[in-house]
């Protein structure tokens, strides 16, 4: 029977030959991930009540990223509990203040095609870029998963997003996702998104993770991309192991049945900006150009990888942030910071007037430094602009690519980045 990629992974994890959408199955989890907000502080009392530990401490990854660095005694206590848990429960893969969980996983070779990854965070979908089934779960579900190594799920229907053509200079995977939030909507609950087509294969792994990450904004359970040579090379370069035949094994059958096929022409896309308070409020940058801003933010799992910082730097080189506007940059991980320091990206940003913040969720989740006052306006490379998320409930957040954030920081108002890109092709 022809199967989509998610159906193949679920069949494998359920110990079955095939599964069909709508079936309820129990699947074995290959990797469980959680952060300081969703993990130990929410698991520990439950595990103690059950009188059990972790089903396999080597397959549980814990990342302190939401409350780092501590801003008060409460957040310090959360980090303290996370450290103690990692020690006491024998968690080997504990990343304390090393970066944002979704970036940490592939950066350290934890993700490979065909896996089932359960994460205590909605953007766990990020890892789907490597051909894994990666989905977010709440704390009680995660407790059950780390105690038993399995969970139940309804086999999702798959929506195929077929992307053709190459992105124009100054247009990115983020722009694809903002357009999709509008055109496909945010209500694709309990569905899997499978991205494919030459437009996807042309993307770097970092760009592909943007598609998978923001499957969460489409409301989807997971977002997957079948592995290819780019995937294998990336995994191996980051210390992971993967079989040569993964691209043959982990792909949809040509005649697989989809709930919907959505075609997108990447070459026709302009930079996108999503207006407050929803990623689905997106439109071509020209619609919002000129709106004054107080803050520009380059941050988050989705928008502060090395390529994102490089995009911002390509716009900001030899230019300055507008007076009265603040540009904050929180690199997604310490490895990203180190790489950006080595290749000169960080210097360009700082010389343009950027303030560099700690790697972590900080302003994105409204927990750390860089928040907004009532009435303030921010343009941000993050993935969500819900009311009140980045500070005061009466603040406004626009979403865009790092290019557009950088161009807007220079102008002091929302601006099209393309006139700022002087030479050749910039990183996508």
């Amino acid at each position: 029977m022809a199967a989509t990629l998610v159906e193949k992974i679920m069949a494998r994890a359920a110990g079955r030959d095939t599964v069909s959408p709508g079936e309820i199955v129990t699947i074995a989890v290959d990797l469980a991930m959680a952060h300081d907000s969703s993990g130990p502080r929410r698991w520990q009392a439950r595990l103690e009540a059950l009188g059990t530990g972790l089903w396999d401490p080597d397959r549980v990854v814990i990342v302190s990223d939401h409350y780092v660095p501590a801003v008060d005694a409460d957040s310090a206590a959360i980090l303290q509990q996370t450290r103690a848990f990692a020690r006491d429960y024998g968690v080997k893969h504990f990343y304390d203040m090393k970066g944002i969980c979704h970036v940490i996983l592939p950066e350290n070779g934890h993700v490979k095609p065909g896996m089932v990854i359960a994460g205590g965070d909605s953007h766990t979908t990020h890892a789907g870029a490597f051909g894994a089934y990666a989905a977010g779960f709440g704390a009680t579900d995660m407790t059950a998963i780390v105690a038993t190594g399995e969970t139940w799920t309804v086999v999702p229907e798959t929506i195929r997003v077929e992307i053709a053509g190459a992105l124009k200079a100054g247009v990115t995977a983020k722009d694809i996702m903002l357009a999709l939030c509008r055109d496909l909507g945010m209500g694709n609950h309990f569905k899997a998104i499978e991205y494919g087509g030459d437009g996807v294969q042309a993307l770097s792994m970092e760009a592909r993770t943007v598609l998978a990450n923001m499957a969460a904004e489409l409301g989807a359970e997971t977002g997957l991309i079948a592995p290819d040579d780019t995937t294998l090379a990336h995994i191996r370069a980051h210390g992971g192991e993967v079989d040569d035949d993964a691209p043959q094994r982990w792909r949809a059958d040509p005649d697989a049945a989809y709930a919907q096929v959505f075609d997108l022409d990447a070459s026709a896309l302009a930079p996108q900006v999503a207006a407050p308070h929803s990623p689905a409020n997106s439109a071509d940058v020209s619609v919002h150009a000129g709106a004054p801003i107080d803050q520009a933010y380059i941050g988050a799992c989705v928008g502060a990888k090395l390529s994102d910082l490089q995009m911002a730097a390509s716009v900001l080189k030899d230019r300055r942030v507008a007076p009265g506007v603040r540009l904050l940059v929180a690199p997604a991980s310490s490895k990203v910071t180190a790489a950006a320091a080595r290749d000169g990206t960080l210097a360009v940003l700082v010389e343009a007037g950027a303030v560099v913040l700690a790697s972590g969720c900080g302003a994105c989740a409204g927990l750390g430094a860089g928040l907004l006052a009532a009435g303030e306006v921010c343009i941000s490379s993050t993935n969500r602009n819900f009311k009140g998320r980045m500070g005061h409930k009466d603040a406004s957040v626009y979403l865009s690519s790092p290019y557009t954030v950088a161009a807007s920081a220079i102008e002091g108002r929302i601006a099209d980045p393309r006139p700022f890109l002087r030479t050749g092709r910039a990183p996508a």
Binding site: G138, T140, R384
Partner: protein, 178 residues
């Protein structure tokens, strides 16, 4: 207990998890966090909602974060069921896991703010005592119905890891699970 009764609190589409459990209060205790539930759209909600009341919403209830506190805060305030045209997946699972029934039902034109509602889970029926109308609602899959009857996922895990002793008492107290 499969019959619930209370007043309807009616909200629109896309009530997200940042509205249900605001980031600035996520460090606080469950009781403190619950006081901020929906404050950005209805500052009176947390103080005025009463035990048994039901949250009624449109499309995409609970979109956004995986934070289980979005569901726990509603339960902490006494909300006895959530009813919406559609649910975000993680929020839906979270509700069921903590024993808060999540019912897929389009309230448009049928339920009004303050209406007295009765939900009979076992019978799969929602009634408005205000308009005397009554509607069938989709039954939960059997394994989820069992989970709600057992008191949520923790209770069913308890049965797996720490079954009651010979005296019928559970060997372990559930402790603080929020």
């Amino acid at each position: 207990m499969s019959v619930r009764e209370g007043r309807a609190w009616v909200f629109g589409d896309a009530i997200d998890t940042d509205l249900l459990a605001p980031g600035h209060a996520m460090k606080k205790s469950p009781a403190e966090l619950a006081k901020h539930t929906l404050e950005a759209v209805d500052p009176d909600f947390a103080a005025s909602v009463r035990s048994g009341d039901m949250l009624v919403a449109g499309r995409d209830l609970g979109i956004g974060s995986s934070r289980e506190q979005a569901a726990i805060s509603l339960k902490t305030l006494g909300v006895s069921a959530v009813i919406a045209k559609s649910f975000a997946r993680i929020f839906y699972r979270n509700c069921i896991n903590i024993g808060l029934p999540a019912i897929i039902f389009d309230p448009a034109g049928r339920i009004h703010p303050g209406d007295r509602l009765r939900l009979d889970l076992a019978a799969g029926r929602l009634s408005s005592l205000a308009t005397r109308e009554s509607w069938p609602v989709p039954a939960l899959p059997p394994h989820l119905m069992t989970m709600i009857e057992q008191g949520g996922l923790m209770a069913s895990l308890q049965a797996r890891f720490a079954p009651p002793g010979a005296d019928g008492q559970s060997r372990r107290a559930p402790g603080s699970l929020t």
